[in-house]
Amino acid sequence: MAKLCAIEYYLPERIETNDDLAREFPEWRMDKIGKKTGIYQRHCAAADECASDLAVYAAEKLFLSGVCKPEEVDYVLFCTQTPDYILPTTACLIQHRLGLRKSAGALDFNLGCSGYIYGLSLAKGLIESGQCRNVLLLTADTYTKLIKPDDRSVRCLFGDGGAASWITADGQGLEIGSFVFGTDGSGADNLIAHGGGFRRSTDFTQSCELSMNGPEIFKFALDTVPRCVRDLLDQEGVAQDSIDLFVPHQANAYMLEYLCAKMGIEPDRFLVNMHNCGNTVSASIPIALRQSGRFIGSSRSIPEKIIPIGFGVGYSWAACFLS
């Protein structure tokens, strides 16, 4: 049985507060924006700092905590949409930097806000099919590098961050249960960075700016998340009331509070925790869970049944059952 045993995360040093944005955009009511988004500051990677750096720092924290050692890693999965290079695979660079065994497997996968759940799924598959025992799942992104400086409505949402999760066949942790997946590529244009790929042009000097259609993404989330959770509950044969904690991707507080009300879940069972780091894409679920103090290693009572839900760019979504 694959178990999620530990999570560590790293946020870059530089912080951009809403006051910083208010100075840059004096006509914008930043006090209101913070109240609505639930985001008061974001961490931004330095010019020479990549998603892989954030992932490596998070993994080093995991090793320092004593929960696992680099030589125990059988497989490293790296989820990012901001890799170091087109090639080679960033996970290969990470294997070397972390001093992982040369007999370890390593691969990147490209997903955004749903990526953490897909990573748990891949890790479970690797472990339960007997291919390996210990998986290091790294999820990190530096979306702030994709945002146009004058795009204030996106700048106030996204922050950079990286998380490292330790998933093993043995040990104390949350057992990874069943999954529900979903994909709808018809929504691709609503959250997209055109540059850096081969569809539009092979001129890599072209813009790599993030373009987001907020209302479309919001509608997608309203339609998709409640259905995804319902399908998972049906599949597991458990009642919504028996779930101790729902951990949605931390998109923005307004959206999450609305989803929570729409699904009829009490706010204390629906984790909203992004005030200090914004939307950190595929790192948002493990960061929120770790920061909340409601995970292994915390002094607070640990929830027994958790449902994390990822949704966003793609469109792609997934949820799973942890117990």
């Binding site: 924006i33 907020g214 919001f218 509608k219 609305y258």
Partner: protein
């Protein structure tokens, strides 16, 4: 939902007093109308009217009257 309730919901979204929206305004005239309030409008209409509004049509709306048109089927007077 009546028109006046609808106007009061718009006022609430932009954090103005009830009665402050008359239905004649252009959205550019409403100080608090921005990308977040567009999203709030979607959410509130979903909640109060169980109405899934097309985000494309919503973004194209120029006036409060255009917003009313989007929910016309649910307005009773």
């Amino acid at each position: 939902m009546t028109k006046s309730t609808f106007y009061d919901i718009i006022a609430e979204i932009i954090e103005e007093d009830p009665g402050s929206v008359s239905g004649q305004e252009l959205l550019t005239d409403l100080e608090g109308w921005d990308s977040m309030t567009v999203v709030a409008f979607l959410a509130v209409m979903d909640k109060h009217l169980s109405l899934a509004i097309s985000p494309k049509e919503l973004v194209e709306a120029k006036s409060v009257a255009d917003l009313l048109e989007l929910v016309a089927e649910k307005i009773t007077g």
